[in-house]
């Protein structure tokens, strides 16, 4: 009866919506029992210089990055909002798709007016390209839509003109593109063909009477699909189509076509429709395009690879249609590098937020009246987040290596860039989704709020595993490339060279029968054990494919049938290649506390790779050793725990680009802050 009365009183209080009066409060509910936010900086110590670590992570153009960070936080266009006494910048994802698109464009205009894009297409050299990467990384930390919208204009449209065009295209288009006098897009994908670009159905013929090409969309499955920028803004596009000259199909070629006039009206013979609302990335206006006898001048063929003479003769320097086609995919490499690098930065945002939250949020006391335990002091929480932190560090070194590989490219290195960028793009974007999901869950209910970013970033970046090369297809290509390397190395007087496969020339590494802490933390052992898996899987893959071929099946069929080994091999290659970049980066440092912490991260990354099912499936590790590895992982996690804050602070992401739960989440959620 007492209980019922008490309950009625409580309910009445709720219904009357009056603030609780003191008569309702029992002594244990007095104000000193309230939780206080204490910034993690006050209790955590930095064992190394986080600026030095940031230099190592970001690698280049730190000043340029900070300038751009500043430019974003200082402008109303980037939607600054105050929460818990701090300013946060992030798009308003509650806006309609149309509003988000408009804001993305306004932000680009703002940056353009301040000269951010100067030299992005007209400048030359490694420095310009690295600076461009840095800007992209910063903008990507603000919002995926703005970086994709810029990526389409500069890397796909601009890149296609740079790579496929010749001097007169460069002169005519690059400066105007950089100055946004025109807005470009890139029409490759069709409704019926995505990854298989060679199968696209759009057709271009040549009319020698007028000296024009004529572009057509012959059927609904040939409509261009997902074309970023096409729905609202783009004035020009690169069109990929089958080039049919005098009845002979010469394969896929690229031309320039105008799709809108300067006032934004769609050009005659062009039809454009919207792709509609998406699960994320709604600040990008993806559209669909149909071509109805669209005529473009002969000069609009991007002719670095092949040309058509005024009288309609097909001319090409590359005779082999396979190679000709491969040359057309070059600009996608730059996009892939960007995506891979961007994925790592998103993981950094997720981890910085989740770890900062875990350093300030408590749950459950071990004994009555004791303070509750910090989330990150739970070994289980460490085990969830810290291996992902180690992986993000590893991927960061991988990303820096990939960027250097790209900017120092030569015709000879094209194959390596293709394989590494495919492998890293797939691995980093998949990892990113996994990391963001774990971080979201680690933030509990707070992770569900859009303003806290982590959960929302999943939707924004889901597309990364699909665009610019479907991850599964990219990984298949990696395995196929490794197969080809293997075959080439079997020829007399040939050995493995490049892609880090040199270890295949050496005798097979031996794994000690009993693993100890010392062994497990030794980089040589870690390399050996990852090489062992790669080596064995490559041998198995080649054997299985050859066996299938021996039965009279085609190589293509054999690849399709050996998909499981192909997947395992692709993963083994990526893990090993990433570890290698980590080890190389570490080797450049003199002994110091920073290097010690990196060593722990490297060990955690490597040992976590050993948790892959392949190690037990193929017997590289005994059951006992697998258990030892597992124990060692928890040990390293607890050793890294004191460095957690320093490690996420070293990401160099300004507070404004994180979210309210990364800071004073109590104040950010106070009653008074809800009143305005």
């Amino acid at each position: 009866m007492d209980r019922a009365f008490q309950r009625t009183k409580v309910l009445t209080g709720h219904l009357l919506q009056s603030p609780p009066t003191s008569s309702f409060q029992t002594p244990s509910l007095s104000s000193n029992a309230c939780l206080n936010y204490s910034p993690p900086e006050l209790s955590e110590k930095y064992a190394f210089d986080i600026n030095d670590m940031r230099k190592l992570m970001d690698g280049h153009d730190l000043e340029e990055r900070d300038r751009l960070f500043g430019m974003i936080t200082q402008s109303k266009v980037f939607n600054p909002r105050v929460r818990g006494g701090k300013v946060f910048v992030s798009p308003d994802y509650n806006q309609s798709m149309e509003q988000q698109r408009e804001m993305t464009w306004k932000r680009i205009e703002y940056l353009f007016e301040r000269g951010v894009f100067q030299g992005w297409l007209t400048g030359e050299g490694e420095e310009v390209e690295m600076r461009r990467f840095a800007c992209f990384e910063v903008l990507g930390l603000f919002d995926h839509s703005i970086s994709i919208k810029l990526g389409v204009h500069f890397f796909l449209w601009g890149g296609a003109i740079q790579f496929f065009g010749t001097k007169h295209h460069h002169d005519k288009w690059l400066r105007d593109t950089e100055n946004y006098l025109i807005k470009g897009c890139f029409a490759m994908t069709e409704l019926g063909h995505g990854s298989n670009v060679r199968g696209i159905e759009t057709i271009t013929t040549y009319d020698s009477n007028t000296g024009e090409f004529v572009i057509n969309t012959p059927c609904e499955s040939a409509q261009k699909y997902w074309i970023g920028g096409a729905a609202n803004h783009a004035t020009h596009t690169i069109v990929f189509s089958q080039l049919n000259i005098n009845g002979t199909n010469q394969g896929v070629h690229a031309l320039i076509a105008q799709i809108r006039d300067a006032d934004g009206n769609v050009c005659p013979n062009i039809r454009i429709a919207d792709c509609g609302h998406k699960i994320g990335l709604n600040g990008v206006d993806n559209g669909r395009i149909w071509f109805d006898n669209v005529r473009v001048p002969r000069e609009n063929l991007l002719n670095s690879v092949a040309d058509v003479s005024p009288d309609g003769k097909y001319l090409s320097a590359i005779k082999d249609p396979d190679q000709r086609f491969a040359a057309f995919l070059a600009p996608l490499t730059a996009g892939r590098v960007n995506i891979a690098v961007n994925a790592v930065y998103q993981s950094k945002v997720g981890l910085a937020i989740a770890i900062r939250y875990a350093l300030t949020r408590r749950a459950f006391s071990l004994k009555p009246k004791e303070p509750e335990v910090l989330l990150l002091d739970y070994p289980s929480h460490q085990r969830r987040l810290l291996p992902l932190l180690a992986k993000t560090y590893a991927m960061s070194f991988g990303a820096n290596y990939l960027k250097m590989l790209y900017v120092k490219r030569t015709p000879q290195s094209n194959k390596i860039i293709h394989v590494i960028s495919s492998s890293f793009k797939a691995t980093f974007t998949w990892s990113n989704m996994q990391i963001l999901q774990e971080c979201r869950e680690a933030c509990g209910g707070q992770g569900l709020k859009t303003e806290n970013r982590v959960g929302h970033l999943k939707a924004e970046h889901d597309v990364q595993s699909t665009f610019e090369g479907d991850n599964n297809i990219l990984m298949q290509q990696v395995s196929k490339a490794l197969f080809a390397e293997y075959m080439a190395a079997q020829k007399p007087n040939k050995a493995f060279k490049g892609l880090g496969l040199e270890h295949m020339n050496k005798p097979c590494p031996v794994i000690p029968s009993r693993l100890t802490t010392t062994t497990l933390r030794c980089s040589q052992f870690q390399m050996d054990v990852l090489c062992l898996r790669e080596r064995d899987l490559l041998n198995r893959f080649v054997a299985e494919v050859s066996q299938c071929q021996a039965k009279g099946e085609s190589k293509e069929h054999a690849f399709i049938m050996s998909y499981q080994l192909a997947e395992d091999l692709g993963k083994a290659f990526s893990d090993r290649a990433i570890l290698q970049t980590f080890v190389e980066a570490e080797a450049t440092l003199a002994a110091c506390s920073l290097k010690d912490v990196l060593g722990m991260l490297r060990s955690l990354y490597a040992l976590n790779c050993l948790e892959d099912g392949a190690y037990l499936r193929y017997g590289y590790l005994s059951v006992e050793n697998a258990a030892t590895v597992r124990r060692e992982i928890t040990k390293i996690c607890s050793e890294l725990r004191p460095h957690a804050l320093a490690l996420v602070s070293s990401f160099g992401i300004p507070d404004a680009f994180l979210s309210p739960i990364a800071f004073n989440w109590i104040d950010a959620n106070s009653w008074s802050s809800a009143q305005h």
Partner: protein, 383 residues
Amino acid sequence: MSSSVSSQHDQVLVEENSFARILTLNRPKQLNALSFQMISRLLELFLAYEEDPNVKLVILKGKGRAFCAGGDVVAVVHDIWAGGWRAGANFFMKEFSLNYLMATYSKPQVSILNGIVMGGGNGVSMHGRFRVATENSVFAMPETALGLFPDVGASYFLSRLPGFFGEYVGLTGARLDGAEMLACGLATHFVPSAKLPMVEAALCDADSSDPVIISSIIDQYCEKPSLKEQTVYNRLDVIDRCFSQRTVEEILSALEREVVDQRDGWIFATIQTLKKASPTSLKISLRSIRVGRVQGVGACLAREYRMVCHVMRGEFSKDFFEGCRAMLLDKDKNPKWEPSKLEHIADTTIDRYFSKVKDEDWEDLKPPTRSKFNLPPYVIAKL
């Protein structure tokens, strides 16, 4: 019931009330320029008040027509001549520690800026919770004309002004009046000077450290000042376009482009000011404000301490001594900067101002530890 506990000769006058402490900077002839003695005294008082449960808030003001015209740079220069650069470093170490203490203070500080507030004067006011401007307020950070750079945590508070106003104010040393200070957020309140005694009396009666309550007390005496017709605050678009540029050289050429577009006295004067300032100062100041944008107040002060030590050592440039000679000692207003041109200064030279000082006994600034206090949210947000 106030009781005076200091003599008229003290450089800091202390007035104790039941809940408030009123500190008055008392070197009116020197426009209350901060001496080492004043800084030490303020540090001592602020530390004591934080521990004293009877003190709820601290009011800081200046005697005479200035709040505070800055650090006593002339004394610092004499000290360096007499005792080497370390004497100067000591001064700044103490001053920046005071700035950090104020920035992270657990009780509200109300600074009454009824007059000149420049350089170091901003260091002892802008970091506090409330800054009250009046019709007599004159704000400036004029360090680049002295061969120094906006220090005392300016890379924190200037970089947080709207758009690129902070770069403009920090590089040109532009003067702002009370209305402009309020508009850009340097001041939190504007009270006509005639009403100041009433504000003080009301604050002394407030038995609270709650910033919301303190703010509403000051609000009762506030007026909404109107910006003067020619205010720079209406030039924010031009300021944003020009001062967002990457380098000082690019800022200058952006300003020069604007002059061509519109014959404008203000832009012309801005260009002239920049051309008169120390080129080295301009470059390190710009870098400092840019980096400051993404740092907490502690990191800002630590970086500025490194920079100021390099300036004192005069290893890369002696502009600070030349600036003090020309502006404060000989007063010929004609400093000979060395290097004399922006293009003569390599980025690597600028980098060195931000590096650790290579001297065995030198240490980075270690601001007072703050963890033992239960910091209010507005302080936590600054860390």
